[in-house]
Amino acid sequence: MTRTPASATEKALHWSVAAAVLVLLVTGVVMYVPSLSQIVGQRFWVRTSHLVAAIVLVAVVLVLPALRWGELRRLERDLSFWDRADWDWFRRPWDVFLSTYHEPAAEPRRFNAGQKLLAALVASALVLLAVSGLPMYWWWLFAGEVVQRARDLHVLASFAVTALIAGHVYLAAFGPSGLLGTGAAKR
Protein backbone atom coordinates (compact mmCIF):
# COMPACT_ATOMS: atom_id res chain seq x y z
CA MET A 1 0.00 0.00 0.00
CA THR A 2 1.29 3.44 -0.83
CA ARG A 3 0.74 6.06 1.81
CA THR A 4 0.45 9.76 1.13
CA PRO A 5 3.66 11.19 2.57
CA ALA A 6 3.44 13.88 5.21
CA SER A 7 3.88 17.39 3.87
CA ALA A 8 6.50 19.78 5.20
CA THR A 9 3.83 21.66 7.14
CA GLU A 10 2.53 18.45 8.71
CA LYS A 11 6.05 17.43 9.66
CA ALA A 12 6.68 20.87 11.17
CA LEU A 13 3.47 20.61 13.18
CA HIS A 14 4.22 17.08 14.34
CA TRP A 15 7.81 17.66 15.39
CA SER A 16 7.29 21.04 17.02
CA VAL A 17 4.42 19.60 19.05
CA ALA A 18 6.55 16.55 19.87
CA ALA A 19 9.46 18.70 21.05
CA ALA A 20 7.22 20.87 23.22
CA VAL A 21 5.48 17.83 24.70
CA LEU A 22 8.85 16.24 25.48
CA VAL A 23 9.94 19.32 27.43
CA LEU A 24 6.57 19.44 29.18
CA LEU A 25 6.80 15.78 30.09
CA VAL A 26 10.35 15.97 31.44
CA THR A 27 9.78 19.17 33.45
CA GLY A 28 6.40 17.90 34.65
CA VAL A 29 7.91 14.66 35.92
CA VAL A 30 10.70 16.58 37.66
CA MET A 31 8.14 18.77 39.43
CA TYR A 32 5.88 15.84 40.29
CA VAL A 33 8.22 13.13 41.57
CA PRO A 34 9.80 14.22 44.87
CA SER A 35 13.01 12.25 44.45
CA LEU A 36 13.63 13.90 41.09
CA SER A 37 12.63 17.32 42.44
CA GLN A 38 15.26 16.88 45.12
CA ILE A 39 17.98 15.90 42.64
CA VAL A 40 17.24 18.70 40.22
CA GLY A 41 16.00 21.50 42.51
CA GLN A 42 15.85 24.85 40.66
CA ARG A 43 12.09 25.06 40.99
CA PHE A 44 11.80 28.42 39.30
CA TRP A 45 13.67 27.34 36.16
CA VAL A 46 11.90 24.00 35.87
CA ARG A 47 8.52 25.69 36.30
CA THR A 48 9.42 28.42 33.80
CA SER A 49 10.60 25.85 31.24
CA HIS A 50 7.28 24.05 31.65
CA LEU A 51 5.36 27.26 31.02
CA VAL A 52 7.48 28.29 28.02
CA ALA A 53 7.03 24.87 26.41
CA ALA A 54 3.28 25.13 26.97
CA ILE A 55 3.19 28.57 25.34
CA VAL A 56 5.24 27.27 22.38
CA LEU A 57 2.84 24.34 21.99
CA VAL A 58 -0.23 26.57 22.01
CA ALA A 59 1.43 29.05 19.62
CA VAL A 60 2.37 26.30 17.16
CA VAL A 61 -1.14 24.85 17.20
CA LEU A 62 -2.62 28.31 16.58
CA VAL A 63 -0.09 29.79 14.15
CA LEU A 64 0.59 26.90 11.76
CA PRO A 65 -3.08 26.32 10.85
CA ALA A 66 -3.47 30.07 10.40
CA LEU A 67 -0.64 30.05 7.89
CA ARG A 68 -1.53 26.79 6.14
CA TRP A 69 -5.24 26.49 6.75
CA GLY A 70 -6.18 24.47 3.66
CA GLU A 71 -3.43 21.93 4.10
CA LEU A 72 -4.03 21.37 7.80
CA ARG A 73 -7.79 21.30 7.34
CA ARG A 74 -7.31 18.32 5.01
CA LEU A 75 -5.15 16.70 7.69
CA GLU A 76 -7.85 17.33 10.29
CA ARG A 77 -10.48 15.76 8.02
CA ASP A 78 -8.25 12.76 7.31
CA LEU A 79 -7.93 12.25 11.07
CA SER A 80 -11.50 13.06 12.06
CA PHE A 81 -13.70 11.16 9.65
CA TRP A 82 -14.31 7.49 10.33
CA ASP A 83 -15.97 5.00 8.00
CA ARG A 84 -16.91 1.35 8.16
CA ALA A 85 -13.31 0.20 7.71
CA ASP A 86 -12.31 2.20 10.77
CA TRP A 87 -14.93 0.51 12.94
CA ASP A 88 -13.82 -2.86 11.54
CA TRP A 89 -10.26 -2.05 12.59
CA PHE A 90 -11.40 -2.16 16.23
CA ARG A 91 -12.35 -5.83 15.96
CA ARG A 92 -8.69 -6.67 16.37
CA PRO A 93 -6.86 -3.49 17.40
CA TRP A 94 -4.02 -5.45 18.96
CA ASP A 95 -3.05 -6.68 15.50
CA VAL A 96 -1.23 -3.39 15.05
CA PHE A 97 1.43 -4.73 17.41
CA LEU A 98 1.98 -7.88 15.31
CA SER A 99 4.57 -8.15 12.58
CA THR A 100 1.96 -9.73 10.31
CA TYR A 101 -0.21 -6.61 10.49
CA HIS A 102 -1.04 -4.79 7.30
CA GLU A 103 -3.45 -2.03 6.52
CA PRO A 104 -6.69 -2.95 4.71
CA ALA A 105 -5.83 -2.86 1.03
CA ALA A 106 -9.28 -2.10 -0.33
CA GLU A 107 -9.03 1.64 0.04
CA PRO A 108 -5.68 3.26 0.74
CA ARG A 109 -6.00 5.74 3.58
CA ARG A 110 -3.56 7.91 5.41
CA PHE A 111 -4.40 6.84 8.93
CA ASN A 112 -5.80 3.73 10.54
CA ALA A 113 -8.49 3.95 13.20
CA GLY A 114 -5.96 3.62 16.00
CA GLN A 115 -4.06 6.62 14.76
CA LYS A 116 -7.29 8.57 14.42
CA LEU A 117 -8.32 7.66 17.94
CA LEU A 118 -4.89 8.60 19.25
CA ALA A 119 -5.03 12.00 17.53
CA ALA A 120 -8.45 12.82 18.99
CA LEU A 121 -7.53 11.74 22.51
CA VAL A 122 -4.12 13.42 22.54
CA ALA A 123 -5.59 16.66 21.16
CA SER A 124 -8.31 16.56 23.80
CA ALA A 125 -5.85 15.82 26.60
CA LEU A 126 -3.48 18.60 25.49
CA VAL A 127 -6.28 21.16 25.51
CA LEU A 128 -7.34 20.00 28.98
CA LEU A 129 -3.74 20.24 30.16
CA ALA A 130 -3.46 23.79 28.84
CA VAL A 131 -6.73 24.87 30.43
CA SER A 132 -6.11 23.15 33.77
CA GLY A 133 -2.61 24.63 33.88
CA LEU A 134 -4.00 28.16 34.08
CA PRO A 135 -5.25 27.99 37.71
CA MET A 136 -2.06 26.18 38.68
CA TYR A 137 0.12 28.95 37.34
CA TRP A 138 -2.02 32.00 38.11
CA TRP A 139 -3.31 30.54 41.39
CA TRP A 140 -4.10 33.91 42.94
CA LEU A 141 -6.86 34.51 40.42
CA PHE A 142 -8.77 31.37 41.46
CA ALA A 143 -10.34 29.88 44.57
CA GLY A 144 -8.25 27.25 46.31
CA GLU A 145 -10.81 24.58 45.47
CA VAL A 146 -10.57 25.40 41.74
CA VAL A 147 -6.77 25.19 41.88
CA GLN A 148 -7.02 21.76 43.49
CA ARG A 149 -9.53 20.45 40.96
CA ALA A 150 -7.48 21.85 38.10
CA ARG A 151 -4.46 19.99 39.38
CA ASP A 152 -6.42 16.76 39.66
CA LEU A 153 -7.41 17.12 36.03
CA HIS A 154 -3.88 18.12 35.04
CA VAL A 155 -2.42 15.01 36.67
CA LEU A 156 -5.04 12.67 35.17
CA ALA A 157 -4.69 14.18 31.69
CA SER A 158 -0.90 14.04 31.86
CA PHE A 159 -1.00 10.35 32.81
CA ALA A 160 -3.36 9.72 29.90
CA VAL A 161 -1.31 11.65 27.36
CA THR A 162 1.91 9.99 28.56
CA ALA A 163 0.41 6.53 28.06
CA LEU A 164 -0.96 7.46 24.64
CA ILE A 165 2.30 8.97 23.45
CA ALA A 166 4.29 6.03 24.82
CA GLY A 167 2.16 3.70 22.68
CA HIS A 168 2.53 6.01 19.68
CA VAL A 169 6.33 6.20 20.05
CA TYR A 170 6.58 2.42 20.51
CA LEU A 171 4.61 1.73 17.34
CA ALA A 172 6.47 4.45 15.45
CA ALA A 173 9.75 2.85 16.40
CA PHE A 174 9.07 -0.87 16.71
CA GLY A 175 5.66 -1.43 15.11
CA PRO A 176 5.23 -3.25 11.81
CA SER A 177 5.32 0.03 9.91
CA GLY A 178 7.70 1.73 12.29
CA LEU A 179 11.20 3.01 11.68
CA LEU A 180 12.79 -0.01 13.33
CA GLY A 181 10.03 -2.49 12.58
CA THR A 182 10.60 -5.50 10.36
CA GLY A 183 7.02 -6.49 9.76
CA ALA A 184 5.14 -7.27 6.59
CA ALA A 185 3.76 -3.78 6.15
CA LYS A 186 7.23 -2.33 5.92
CA ARG A 187 8.42 -4.95 3.48
Binding site: Q42, R43, F81, W139, Q148
Partner: protein
Protein backbone atom coordinates in the same frame (compact mmCIF):
# COMPACT_ATOMS: atom_id res chain seq x y z
CA UNK B 1 -20.55 6.84 4.85
CA UNK B 2 -17.93 8.53 6.97
CA UNK B 3 -18.68 10.58 10.05
CA UNK B 4 -16.58 13.06 12.08
CA UNK B 5 -16.06 10.65 14.97
CA UNK B 6 -12.67 12.13 15.78
CA UNK B 7 -14.17 15.55 16.37
CA UNK B 8 -16.84 14.06 18.59
CA UNK B 9 -14.25 12.19 20.61
CA UNK B 10 -12.22 15.38 20.96
CA UNK B 11 -15.23 17.35 22.17
CA UNK B 12 -16.32 14.53 24.48
CA UNK B 13 -12.87 14.50 26.06
CA UNK B 14 -13.04 18.25 26.63
CA UNK B 15 -16.54 18.01 28.08
CA UNK B 16 -15.47 15.23 30.44
CA UNK B 17 -12.52 17.25 31.69
CA UNK B 18 -14.53 20.42 32.18
CA UNK B 19 -17.22 18.42 33.98
CA UNK B 20 -14.59 17.07 36.36
CA UNK B 21 -13.61 20.61 37.32
CA UNK B 22 -17.02 22.28 37.22
CA UNK B 23 -19.33 19.64 38.57
CA UNK B 24 -19.24 17.20 41.41
CA UNK B 25 -16.75 17.08 44.21
CA UNK B 26 -13.12 16.31 44.25
CA UNK B 27 -11.68 13.07 42.94
CA UNK B 28 -12.73 9.96 44.85
CA UNK B 29 -10.44 9.25 47.79
CA UNK B 30 -9.15 5.99 46.38
CA UNK B 31 -8.16 7.58 43.09
CA UNK B 32 -6.55 10.50 44.89
CA UNK B 33 -4.55 8.10 47.06
CA UNK B 34 -3.43 6.30 43.94
CA UNK B 35 -2.38 9.52 42.27
CA UNK B 36 -0.59 10.92 45.29
CA UNK B 37 0.57 7.62 46.72
CA UNK B 38 2.31 4.73 45.04
CA UNK B 39 2.05 6.06 41.51
CA UNK B 40 2.39 9.72 42.28
CA UNK B 41 5.34 9.58 44.56
CA UNK B 42 7.37 6.74 43.10
CA UNK B 43 9.34 6.85 46.34
CA UNK B 44 8.47 6.71 50.06
CA UNK B 45 6.67 9.89 50.96
CA UNK B 46 4.53 11.59 53.58
CA UNK B 47 2.28 13.15 51.00
CA UNK B 48 4.44 16.20 50.41
CA UNK B 49 6.06 17.00 47.12
CA UNK B 50 9.53 18.49 47.36
CA UNK B 51 10.31 22.02 46.24
CA UNK B 52 13.65 23.78 46.36
CA UNK B 53 14.84 26.79 44.41
CA UNK B 54 18.45 25.60 44.54
CA UNK B 55 20.08 22.28 43.73
CA UNK B 56 20.78 21.18 47.28
CA UNK B 57 19.44 21.11 50.83
CA UNK B 58 21.31 23.37 53.30
CA UNK B 59 23.42 21.29 55.66
CA UNK B 60 23.42 21.88 59.41
CA UNK B 61 24.59 20.23 62.61
CA UNK B 62 22.82 20.26 65.92
CA UNK B 63 25.78 21.57 67.89
CA UNK B 64 26.49 24.53 65.64
CA UNK B 65 23.03 25.52 64.46
CA UNK B 66 21.63 28.85 65.66
CA UNK B 67 18.52 30.80 64.76
CA UNK B 68 19.16 34.53 64.64
CA UNK B 69 16.49 37.10 65.45
CA UNK B 70 17.81 40.58 64.77
CA UNK B 71 17.06 43.88 63.07
CA UNK B 72 14.75 46.37 64.75
CA UNK B 73 14.84 44.68 68.16
CA UNK B 74 16.22 45.67 71.54
CA UNK B 75 17.48 42.17 72.35
CA UNK B 76 18.93 40.35 69.36
CA UNK B 77 18.79 36.59 69.77
CA UNK B 78 20.96 33.74 68.61
CA UNK B 79 19.24 30.58 69.76
CA UNK B 80 20.37 26.99 69.75
CA UNK B 81 17.82 24.30 69.08
CA UNK B 82 17.49 23.59 72.80
CA UNK B 83 17.07 27.29 73.63
CA UNK B 84 14.44 27.63 70.94
CA UNK B 85 12.59 24.61 72.27
CA UNK B 86 12.70 25.99 75.82
CA UNK B 87 10.54 28.95 74.78
CA UNK B 88 7.65 26.51 74.72
CA UNK B 89 6.26 24.20 72.09
CA UNK B 90 2.73 24.21 70.77
CA UNK B 91 0.92 21.95 68.34
CA UNK B 92 -0.78 23.32 65.24
CA UNK B 93 -2.88 21.05 63.05
CA UNK B 94 -3.75 22.39 59.63
CA UNK B 95 -4.19 21.38 56.01
CA UNK B 96 -1.16 22.16 53.89
CA UNK B 97 -1.89 23.69 50.47
CA UNK B 98 0.52 24.27 47.63
CA UNK B 99 -0.16 26.87 44.95
CA UNK B 100 0.18 24.13 42.34
CA UNK B 101 -2.91 22.44 43.75
CA UNK B 102 -1.73 19.55 45.89
CA UNK B 103 -2.67 19.37 49.54
CA UNK B 104 -1.90 17.35 52.64
CA UNK B 105 -4.74 17.11 55.12
CA UNK B 106 -4.47 17.65 58.86
CA UNK B 107 -0.74 18.04 59.17
CA UNK B 108 0.29 18.14 62.84
CA UNK B 109 3.16 20.57 63.33
CA UNK B 110 5.02 21.13 66.61
CA UNK B 111 6.93 24.33 67.18
CA UNK B 112 7.43 27.69 68.80
CA UNK B 113 4.98 30.56 68.47
CA UNK B 114 6.48 33.19 66.18
CA UNK B 115 4.79 35.87 68.27
CA UNK B 116 6.50 34.59 71.42
CA UNK B 117 9.82 34.48 69.62
CA UNK B 118 9.73 38.08 68.39
CA UNK B 119 8.37 39.28 71.71
CA UNK B 120 11.40 37.72 73.36
CA UNK B 121 13.57 39.85 71.10
CA UNK B 122 11.58 42.98 72.07
CA UNK B 123 10.58 44.50 68.74
CA UNK B 124 11.05 48.24 68.49
CA UNK B 125 8.04 50.41 67.53
CA UNK B 126 9.45 50.97 64.03
CA UNK B 127 9.42 47.22 63.34
CA UNK B 128 6.44 46.33 61.15
CA UNK B 129 7.50 43.20 59.26
CA UNK B 130 9.77 40.16 59.36
CA UNK B 131 12.35 39.12 56.80
CA UNK B 132 12.81 35.34 56.91
CA UNK B 133 15.86 33.72 55.36
CA UNK B 134 16.64 30.11 54.58
CA UNK B 135 19.86 28.40 55.60
CA UNK B 136 21.59 28.90 52.27
CA UNK B 137 20.35 32.46 51.92
CA UNK B 138 18.80 31.63 48.56
CA UNK B 139 15.19 31.88 49.71
CA UNK B 140 13.90 35.00 51.42
CA UNK B 141 10.34 35.87 52.28
CA UNK B 142 8.52 38.52 54.29
CA UNK B 143 5.64 38.53 56.71
CA UNK B 144 3.85 41.53 58.18
CA UNK B 145 4.30 41.55 61.94
CA UNK B 146 0.53 41.67 62.32
CA UNK B 147 0.28 38.38 60.42
CA UNK B 148 3.25 36.89 62.25
CA UNK B 149 1.49 37.45 65.56
CA UNK B 150 -1.65 35.55 64.55
CA UNK B 151 -2.46 32.27 66.31
CA UNK B 152 -1.05 29.20 64.61
CA UNK B 153 1.94 30.92 63.03
CA UNK B 154 4.91 28.97 64.35
CA UNK B 155 8.53 28.13 63.79
CA UNK B 156 8.03 24.40 63.42
CA UNK B 157 10.60 21.92 64.63
CA UNK B 158 8.60 18.75 64.22
CA UNK B 159 5.89 17.17 62.14
CA UNK B 160 3.63 14.28 63.11
CA UNK B 161 5.51 13.68 66.36
CA UNK B 162 8.93 13.43 64.71
CA UNK B 163 11.62 16.04 64.10
CA UNK B 164 11.47 17.71 60.70
CA UNK B 165 13.26 15.83 57.97
CA UNK B 166 15.71 17.64 55.73
CA UNK B 167 13.14 17.59 52.93
CA UNK B 168 10.54 19.27 55.14
CA UNK B 169 12.94 22.00 56.27
CA UNK B 170 14.99 20.73 59.24
CA UNK B 171 15.82 21.88 61.73
CA UNK B 172 13.25 24.72 61.68
CA UNK B 173 10.74 26.12 59.23
CA UNK B 174 7.92 28.59 59.23
CA UNK B 175 4.29 27.44 59.23
CA UNK B 176 1.53 29.90 58.34
CA UNK B 177 -1.62 27.77 58.27
CA UNK B 178 -3.83 30.25 56.40
CA UNK B 179 -1.30 30.91 53.62
CA UNK B 180 -0.07 28.78 50.73
CA UNK B 181 2.97 26.68 51.49
CA UNK B 182 5.57 28.86 49.76
CA UNK B 183 5.33 31.32 52.65
CA UNK B 184 6.63 28.61 54.99
CA UNK B 185 10.35 29.28 54.66
CA UNK B 186 12.24 26.01 55.10
CA UNK B 187 15.68 25.57 56.66
CA UNK B 188 15.04 28.80 58.56
CA UNK B 189 18.23 30.50 59.76
CA UNK B 190 17.51 34.15 60.33
CA UNK B 191 14.55 36.35 61.20
CA UNK B 192 15.12 40.08 60.82
CA UNK B 193 12.63 42.67 62.00
CA UNK B 194 12.34 45.39 59.36
CA UNK B 195 10.27 48.52 58.79
CA UNK B 196 8.13 47.09 56.02
CA UNK B 197 7.72 43.88 54.06
CA UNK B 198 9.96 43.61 51.02
CA UNK B 199 9.51 41.43 47.96
CA UNK B 200 9.94 37.73 48.62
CA UNK B 201 11.54 35.15 46.35
CA UNK B 202 8.39 34.12 44.51
CA UNK B 203 6.79 37.56 44.51
CA UNK B 204 9.90 38.78 42.68
CA UNK B 205 9.18 36.09 40.10
CA UNK B 206 5.55 36.87 39.46
CA UNK B 207 3.54 35.58 42.41
CA UNK B 208 0.84 37.79 43.85
CA UNK B 209 1.77 39.48 47.13
CA UNK B 210 -1.29 38.02 48.84
CA UNK B 211 -0.65 34.37 49.73
CA UNK B 212 -4.08 33.71 51.21
CA UNK B 213 -5.90 30.57 50.11
CA UNK B 214 -8.95 32.03 48.34
CA UNK B 215 -12.48 30.86 49.10
Amino acid sequence: MSQPVGRRLFLAGLAGGVALIALGGRLPGALRSWLEGPLGELSPSDGFHFYSVTGSIPSWDRAGWRLAVDGLVDQPLSLSLDELTSIGLQTVTADFHCVSGWSVSSVRWRGVSLAALVDLAAVRPAGRALRLESGDGAYVDYLDLEVARKPGVIVALGIRDTPLSSERGAPARLVVPFYYGYKGVKWLRRITVVESAGVGYWEARGYDADARIRD
